[in-house]
Assembly symmetry: D2
């Protein structure tokens, strides 16, 4: 079972075309990742930063938009791990209409590297994180 | 003459009602203040933070919305200074339809205090800033 | 008992000063109002727009910021009704540190008018809404 | 010569890691596209929507982040056209440190389809647009 968190489209996510502004989906990815840390890995994302001293700048993102979202809609955002490299993590995201994992709205992936917050010096994926993430590898 | 900078409503400023999401006007205030520093005071806002070591958390804001804005609209944002206290500054904002200062869209004020960026310790309004701001007091 | 909903500061709510960007608090007000409709009035805010045909542009907002918020913080946003006019509603907002209603972070009010979504023609506060809101008047 | 517009990182674009929040780069893409229409194609993006009756939902985006941006930075966003399909347009984006096109910060592409604003019915790329865009094909 992959981690899923529900996100409610908010009033201001809508753009002048009357649908969710497409960069907001990337924001949904990030929101879902914050929930993934808190609820799947058991550590608040703020603590990862402040106590574990690691942050995750993006080096690549890609995303396919299958359906538009309107105000009043909700999206079930699934977070999984596609790859754990030496210093990088590839995160997989899929967004579904609530009620299952068949009605795909959006899917994408995001590659981040592990760095020290203050210096942005690249570091290896910490062992505690590697272990935690390994339980959430995407099986397809 | 007060400082005025033009802001173009962007596609994502629009909310689900088809008009500029009202908290975005407060963002316009901030954008205009950033331009005010760069162009009226002659110091980049980033340098105020990094070199002058002062930042301006808000303690109060109020705002009246006279007209709605739609996508395609522009707004002339005027920045002036209403009061300079010991540690606080009261900023005045007025937004007009381009082409004059008669067709008012929004007006408001924002009280900020001067603090040191890292510690958020309150400090007096620095002399260089007091002098710069004194040339932009609102005359009504 | 007033309606309270908890909002988690998200990674992108933080500005370059390291605290919640102050216009985001107004966004928190709106998010809380969306939850208030769904959970206190029992009607989704989207349905108010699409089925009840009423929307609520702002004519005035004011807000006092008592404490700063950082990433990792949560805020309990309380929504109440301060006044119901002929066509206007005055909404009261208070944000507290979770765990009670003593540690105030922010408080403010927002006056909205009732209009028809497409035309923005002003209308009286609908009776169903007046009745619903009357149960949530602020008692101080 | 490709179209380039300069974007100034704003105070609220910064996230809790102290750098531009990565979904904001996609927003920069959109801002640059709005300027591209106004300044390279000679038609305001709002008029494309309201008068030409076409809007451009995204079906795909990908982006590589080469450098981080901080507050105080500016980015020269280049917009070009990679492909014009039957109903789709592939937009190319590159962001450079100001002062040339050698110091790459970000690059990406975005595929949009042409639809009618109200119905979201897919339509062919309009002839006026195809002609305008053909002058801005990316040459590499």
């Amino acid at each position: 079972m992959h981690f899923i968190t529900q996100i409610k489209v908010c009033f201001s996510d809508i753009d002048n075309a009357g649908i969710v502004y497409y960069p907001r989906f990337l924001h949904y990815f990030h929101l879902a990742k914050e929930e993934f840390f808190a609820n799947a890995l058991g550590i608040d994302y703020a603590d990862v930063l402040y106590k574990k001293k690691v942050t995750f700048p993006s080096v690549h993102v890609e995303c396919d938009f299958k359906q538009k979202l309107r105000y009043g809609d909700k999206i079930d955002m699934e977070v999984s791990v596609i790859n754990i490299g030496n210093t990088s993590i590839t995160w997989g995201y899929r967004g579904f209409r609530p009620g299952g994992t068949t009605d795909l709205i959006v899917h994408g992936l995001n590659i981040t590297v592990c760095v020290v917050p203050d210096t942005f010096k690249k570091i290896e994926v910490p062992e505690w994180l590697r272990q935690g993430l390994s339980k959430h590898m995407r099986k397809e």
